[in-house]
Each structure stands twice: as structure tokens, then as C-alpha cells.
């Protein structure tokens, strides 16, 4: 294990993801917003599981909750659980083909959305529609592009 480098790059990428998730969109497009924070988080877990883990996921979730005005802890719970699944299997994910990765990311983002809607449903602030799975679809389609982009960033800035 060498000295950790380039933490700034990791946190900057997560900050950009937070901004993208708070970006105002036209109403019709709101359903189509990818889960930026979750995607970037998943990338860093696959790439550097020693640097980014459950703690980062939890703090990101709290920030998302505050930024979005949702129940405090809601996204924190979902992100932590999804991150945990990814940490369990990141070595296998590295060996996946693109198609397998896309399907796996779809499942993970869907899991995140389902947890959020379950908790909301239990507390009685949810609605009856499957539209909340649309972000999972978009996120999965975007995954290969984001993966290559972030890998370029990681290698360019020599983050380890």
C-alpha cells in the first residue's frame, strides 16, 4: 500500500455530483435525472475501496437530504446500504463486461430508489407510481460513460 494521493479529486468529483443533483431542471425532465451522487460514489468504491466506504456514503446521504429537504437520514440509509452491497462484490464488478456492469448498476440504483420509497411509504408520504425507477434506467445507461470519464480523471490526476 502506497501513500494515499489525490483525495481532493475524489471530494471534488463528489461535490460536482452533489451540484448536479441539485441543478434545477424543467418539470418534465425531473423524472429523468440520473442519481449522480450514487453513480460517482459507486465508481470510487469500485476503483478505491480503501479510500471511499460506508462513512463517505453516509455523509453524502446526509448532505443529499439537507440539499433536497427530504427527511434527514433517508438518503443516508439508502446510500449506506447500496454502498455496502458494492463493497461486498467490488472485485467481481471489476471483472464484469460492460453489459453486466450496466445491469448491476441498474439493480443497485433501483435498490436505492426502492429503499427511499419504502421508508417514505411507511411514513405515509409517497405516491403510487413506478416512475421512480426511471432514474435507475438513466443511471445504468450513463454508467459506462461516467466510468470511463472518472477513470480518465483518476489516471490523469494519479489518484491512488
Amino acid at each position: 500500500m502506497s501513500q494515499p494521493r489525490g483525495g481532493v479529486v475524489i471530494y471534488l468529483s463528489l461535490l460536482v455530483a452533489l451540484m448536479l443533483s441539485a441543478l434545477p431542471l424543467p418539470e418534465d425532465l425531473q423524472w429523468w435525472r440520473p442519481e449522480w451522487v450514487l453513480l460517482v460514489l459507486l465508481y470510487w468504491i469500485v476503483a478505491l475501496p480503501t479510500r471511499v466506504g460506508l462513512g463517505t456514503a453516509w455523509i453524502l446521504g446526509i448532505l443529499l437530504d439537507v440539499l433536497g429537504g427530504s427527511l434527514l437520514g433517508l438518503n443516508a440509509l439508502a446510500l449506506t446500504i447500496v454502498a455496502y452491497v458494492m463493497i461486498l462484490v467490488y472485485q467481481r464488478v471489476r471483472m464484469f463486461s460492460w453489459l453486466q456492469q450496466v445491469l448491476f448498476v441498474f439493480a443497485l440504483v433501483a435498490l436505492d430508489q426502492i429503499i427511499v420509497h419504502w421508508v417514505k411509504g411507511i411514513l405515509g408520504v409517497s405516491s403510487q407510481t413506478l416512475m421512480f425507477l426511471v432514474p435507475a434506467l438513466i443511471s445504468a445507461v450513463l454508467w459506462p460513460v461516467l466510468f470511463m470519464l472518472l477513470r480518465g480523471v483518476r489516471r490523469g490526476f494519479n489518484v491512488a
Binding site: P24, E27, Q30, G55, W58, L67, S70, L72, L77, V125
Partner: protein, 284 residues
């Protein structure tokens, strides 16, 4: 193990946040922390606005200027009448021994963020507790009530819009004073009128104004216009669809009303506390 700990902390947070008010301190602190993100995210639209302003045609500006002058003239005429009328109103109220101010104090704020969650209708404003914004302040734009402040951080505040399905507002029909409650539907251009009797006098085009009951919204601001009225013999209440007057999805400059009702209510609360202590004192 860490998963369990973090998950339990999250669940505890969710439950406390849902049931109690204690987490508001944490939330407002953290919101102050992420306020810069919201400001940065708003930069592109502000740049677009600036570009629009700086590259606009002179011809268009002249035209707009003329239109605005004409509009100002019309409004001034109305204002002349208003001053007379409000003076008369105050005089009549004095005759009735009820002291009520006709005008409210307002504060200008701009919208810097829209809630990304399509299930909720909320806005983030550029004014926070530093400028004196408090939870519960009503929000208006040029044409009507938009919503109310639900949480405040140091430099920004969050507003629940009329159209959110968690929002309701007491109103009355401007024409005849029939009282009702308008609730949000979760759709951005539609509201619903709850529990209005089938026989109530309401027709398409009626304007609903705040009734001032409940003490949160001051009296007399337009809220919505009645669209369709359906009388279904099988239903106990009339089915009334109304459209919000305010431009909820477009307004960028908005007004916060520092409602005098609330100030008075605050005083009343103090008075009640005092009287309670007085009673306690007697009991002792």
C-alpha cells in the same frame, strides 16, 4: 458492523425528523453549510438571465419601456382610488372599534433553487434568518399567494408551494365570502377545494382570496381562480378544480410578507404565558 451502526443512526434520524422538531437545529446548520452549493448551481441560470438582459434589442427595450409606462399609469390610477378607499376603510373600522392595518410589511427575495424531487413542490429562497425570515412567513408574487416558509437557515430558506400535496390554505370566495380550504394536488397547475357543500354559491371564474383564518396568511391576497365546478349527485360535496393565480413555476422575484398576525400572535402567546404564570402564582 459499521453498516448496522450507520443504518440504525439513519433510521433514528428519520424517525426523529419525522416526529419531532429537535433535528431542525442540525438541519438548519447543515443547510447553511450546503448553501454555497445552491448558489453555485444557480449560476448558469443567472448567467443566462444576464446574457438575455445585455444582448436584448434596443427596439424591444423601447417597446417594453412604453408598455411598462402605460401599465404604471393604469396602476397609479388604481392606486389613487386605493388610497381614498383604504383611508375610508380605516375610518370605518375605527367607527367599529376594530383596529386593523390594511398594509403589510414585505421583503423582496429571489428564488435560487427548485426542489429536485418531483414528488414535492418546494423552492429555495436567497433570504434566511440573517435577514429576519421566520418559519411560517407567507410568500407572494405579483399575482397571488405562492406558499409559506417551512425551514430557515442562515442565508437561505425553504418554501412549501400551494401545489404540494401537503399544503392547505384557508380561503374565501371574494364575491360572497363563502369560506373553504384549498389543498394542493401535487400537480403544478391545479388545486382542489375541499368540503364545499353542493349548494354553495360558486361559479367558474370566482376568485378565491386568503381568509386570514388560522392566523398564518394575512387576509385578502388572491390565491386561485375557480376553473370547473362539478355537481355529482352521488357525492356529498361539490367537486371544484381551481388554478393558482401565482406563477408558481415561473416567478423568480418573490415577496415575503412579514405577517402582522404572527407578530400579534407572538405577543398573545407571551400574554398567555404571563397569565398562566399569574394563575400558577395564585395557585401557589
Amino acid at each position: 458492523m459499521r453498516l448496522l451502526v450507520l443504518a440504525i443512526i439513519s433510521l433514528l434520524l428519520i424517525v426523529t425528523d419525522f416526529n419531532f422538531r429537535q433535528t431542525d437545529v442540525v438541519r438548519s446548520g447543515l443547510t447553511t453549510l450546503v448553501a454555497p452549493i445552491q448558489y453555485v448551481v444557480d449560476v448558469p441560470s443567472r448567467v443566462m438571465g444576464w446574457l438575455n438582459r445585455t444582448t436584448v434589442d434596443y427596439q424591444v427595450l423601447y417597446q417594453e419601456n412604453d408598455e411598462l409606462k402605460a401599465q404604471a399609469l393604469v396602476l397609479q390610477r388604481k392606486l389613487q382610488k386605493m388610497t381614498v378607499l383604504s383611508a375610508e376603510n380605516i375610518r370605518l373600522r375605527e367607527l367599529l372599534n376594530s383596529a386593523e392595518k390594511v398594509d403589510d410589511n414585505v421583503m423582496l427575495a429571489s428564488v435560487i433553487g427548485v426542489d429536485p424531487d418531483p414528488f414535492t413542490h418546494e423552492l429555495v429562497l436567497s433570504k434566511g434568518s440573517n435577514e429576519g425570515v421566520r418559519v411560517g412567513y407567507p410568500l407572494l408574487d405579483g399575482s397571488g399567494v405562492m406558499g409559506q416558509v417551512i425551514s430557515v437557515s442562515r442565508f437561505s430558506s425553504r418554501v412549501l408551494l400551494l401545489t404540494d400535496s401537503r399544503h392547505s390554505i384557508p380561503v374565501q370566495i371574494n364575491r360572497n365570502g363563502v369560506r373553504a380550504i384549498v389543498v394542493g394536488t401535487g400537480l403544478s397547475d391545479q388545486l382542489e377545494l375541499l368540503h364545499l357543500p353542493d349548494t354553495a354559491d360558486i361559479v367558474e371564474g370566482d376568485i378565491l382570496v386568503t381568509s386570514g383564518l388560522g392566523g398564518r396568511f394575512p387576509f385578502g391576497y388572491p390565491v386561485a381562480t375557480v376553473g370547473r365546478v362539478e355537481h355529482d349527485p352521488g357525492q356529498p360535496f361539490a367537486n371544484v378544480q381551481v388554478q393558482p393565480n401565482a406563477q408558481l413555476t415561473r416567478s423568480r422575484q418573490v415577496l415575503l410578507v412579514m405577517a402582522r398576525e404572527q407578530q400579534e400572535m407572538g405577543l398573545d402567546e407571551n400574554a398567555e404565558e404571563q397569565s398562566e404564570t399569574a394563575v400558577e402564582g395564585e395557585a401557589l
